[in-house]
Amino acid sequence: MNFPFVKEAVNSLFKKPSTERYPFVKKEAPLGYRGRILFKSDKCIGCGMCIRVCAPGAITKSTKKTDDGEEITMNFFMGRCTFCQMCADFCPRGAIELTNEFSMITEDKSNLNVSGTFIKKLPPKQQAGSQTISKQV
Amino acid sequence: MMQHYPVLSIIILFLGAFLNALFGGKSSIVRNIITFLSTGTSFLLILLLIKPIMLEGKVISYWMGNWIPVSDWAIGIGLEVDQLSLFFALLVSFTVFLSGIYSFKYMENDDTLDKYYVLYLMLSGGVMGFVLSGDIFNMFVMIEIFTFAAVALTAFRNYIEGALEAAFKYIVIGSIGSSFILAGTTLLYAQLHTLNMAQIAALMHKNYTPITLFSLGLMFTGYAVKSFIVPCHAAAPDAYMTAPSSISMLFSGMVNKAGVYGMIRLLYMLFQSINLPSMQILIIILGTITMFIGVTMALIQNDFKRLLAFHSISQIGYVITGIGLSTALGITGGLYHALNHTLFKGLLFLCAGAVFYSVGTTDLNKLGGLAKKMPHTALIFLIGAFSISGLPPFNGFVSKWLIYQSAYEEGFVIVTIIALLVSVLTLASFIKVTQSVFFGQLSKECENAKEVPIGMRIPMWIMAFMCFITGILPQYVTKYLITPAVSATLNIGKYIDAMLKDGYAEKYFKETVPVPNINYKLAGYWRPEYYLILFIIILLAFTLTVLAGGIDVNRRSIVSKEIEDYKYDTFYSGEKSEYSQVGGADLFWGLKYDFRKYFNFMHSAHSGVVNDYTLWIISTAAIVIAYIFLLVP
């Protein structure tokens, strides 16, 4: 007939409760927390490595022909992402970075999409028969 | 003219039986009229007797064939009606009258009904005669009549399996009881040369010879068998279960009350041995054992009527304990409980009959969800269940409470604790019946159950109303009915004088018999203004429901099957709701598991073999006689 924890229960009555008052006291996620994806579209070269390694297939790429090149938009659908950071690690250009922003509460799914577009210039039109491929960014 | 009412009320019942035998076979209307008239007039006659006897305190004595006592020695058979016997006669005639009306409709799809009504009227005539007669041999004759009528009625529906076996058990045990009573009566007659109760009481005052003590032991066991006290109760559950419900209502309302009446007369009148503490202890022990075993056996039953039968036994335990206390308050509690028991147990048996009438079975595991199909019966059953478990506004509460009060005051603390515990266990078993018969899921058997016809519902409503009235106005019930009966039990001088001639009692008692004042100092009843409170609180509850606003109790819109709207299905944690009734045997797992040794022992003790039961009765007889010889003088 022993009641465990009675001592702890009684003297924890007089101690301060150990609850973090979250919504009123903002709380930073710990260092290196894999939160919402930040896509730096200028660095991206549209190689598609991230799409290949993304397990849930949360990343989609759509291209649109424009007059001076292709306009590529990369779309990261956070509702489908497992936040495993594989895309960030495999991105050769370091264009994807997971911030430590954890609360992404929304009422409709559409604003869970992180997307960025960039123009990929086509290499300059080769004059007919020119010899060397000049290095072009 | 008032002299002749007692005899008339008995003879009319027998006359009804005789007429039914002659003309009953013709058509049901003739039968019903004869039965209704005979039970109605006998009930009316008893009602007319209330004013002279109960209020003015007169005692009617009537000598059969006008054989008045010769030189104050009683030769003829005398009928004696004082307040106590009128109280029991009232119970008997009330139950007989209502059960008669009930059985018009209830028995309609049985055949050979004229034989049913003959036996029915013989049974009621026998008990009426037993309660009103003042002569112990005449009482024995009446016992024989109603026992054999009861046995025949138990086996009336011989197609029910177990009916013949129950009747056989009842006849063996019943006749053993009757033979004990007969042996006691003959011994008394040999010793005192008279059969008249009043004269025996006068002669027996304070001179116990071994023969009279032996006859006391025999008659005590005989009446114990008749009122189904525990060691000799084994015939009751089978008999109540297989008999038609209108008859089991008579059994529990009347037949075991007759046994209790016999016990009271035996102990308070004939042998005046109740004021010996050893005698009190014997009765209280028997009463408490009856209470406890009755209710624990009822908890594990799987049949509705068998459960009610075991409850009758345990409630009789209450009455016997109340009477065994021999204080004015104790007897008041005992008699009040006898009245209440007749009312609510009769009501419950009528509900069982209604369930049997519309569904065809009373097995708790097969029934379920009848409240939707039979709302009236469900409501009436709830009133009966609440009054038997003693919840305040109903009548069980007042009488049980009187018994606790007097038991605790007399120092029998264990008895009070057991009594309160038994009352909680009664509540438990009736919750089990409520859940497995009326609420819960609608079982396959009850799909096409319909409400019982109005002919059966009228007596049920009358009984329910009576249960409510005796619960709310206890002081009037006690003032007019119970207190006269209690003073009659305790003050036997008036009984003797009325029977023989005045001053007869003084000659033998050498002092006037003191009439104890019934101290109600402790008996706090529900005073009328409490009902004012109850009414106002109900009003409060009603206003609360309306006032709170924001409520939309949505009328359950009839959802047609093709729209799969699960909103109104019961919650099965997501599954499709299918039939899974929790009721009958699998309630109270905790209780049965904890006391499994006790319940297994009890289960095997009730073996159903007649010789075991007879062995019990003979051993109780032996123990009682030994007890009386060792302790009483």
């Binding site: 609850t19 979250y22 929304t106 | 944690s573």
Partner: protein, 147 residues
């Protein structure tokens, strides 16, 4: 006078009911973690109830597999109005890694109207508290709209 009190009390005492529609239990543990002393959702009046009949906010976690589909629909239908449905974690929103499997054909909003999405492959307890906080506001608006 009662209407105002009832309005206010809807915001103060939302009761939760949790349905596991095939989840890997990561979100379930995080959800229950909000009731522990460290995050203590009870200070806002949140209480986990045993039956949908008592609930106001229904928290669904896990991709709605074929097996749990009609159970989820049936349980959510049994919740009295006004009710709010919260999709906990990214599985109900999109099926996450289980999306293409034979048993996960649609996401939660195909079966029931979802009010709040709490994304995160097992969102942090703080994120769940934010989600529930928004659900309470929606509950209050729903209560005011249809009453």
């Amino acid at each position: 006078m009662f209407k105002k009190i009832i309005e206010k009390s809807f915001e103060k005492s939302p009761w939760l009911f949790h349905i596991n529609a095939g989840s890997c239990n990561a979100c379930d543990i995080e959800f229950v973690a909000t009731l522990t002393p460290r995050y203590d959702a009870e200070r806002f009046g949140f209480k986990l109830t045993g039956t949908p009949r008592h609930a106001d906010i229904i928290v669904v976690s896990g991709p709605v597999t074929e097996q749990s589909k009609d159970r989820v629909i049936r349980t959510i239908a049994q919740v009295p109005n006004p009710k709010v449905i919260v999709a906990l974690g990214s599985c109900p929103a999109s099926g996450n890694i289980f999306a293409g499997s034979y048993s996960v054909l649609h996401t939660l909003d195909y079966y029931v109207p979802v009010d709040v999405y709490v994304p995160g492959c097992s969102p942090k307890p703080e994120a769940i508290i934010d989600g529930l906080y928004k659900a309470v506001e929606i509950l209050k608006n729903k209560r005011r709209d249809n009453k």
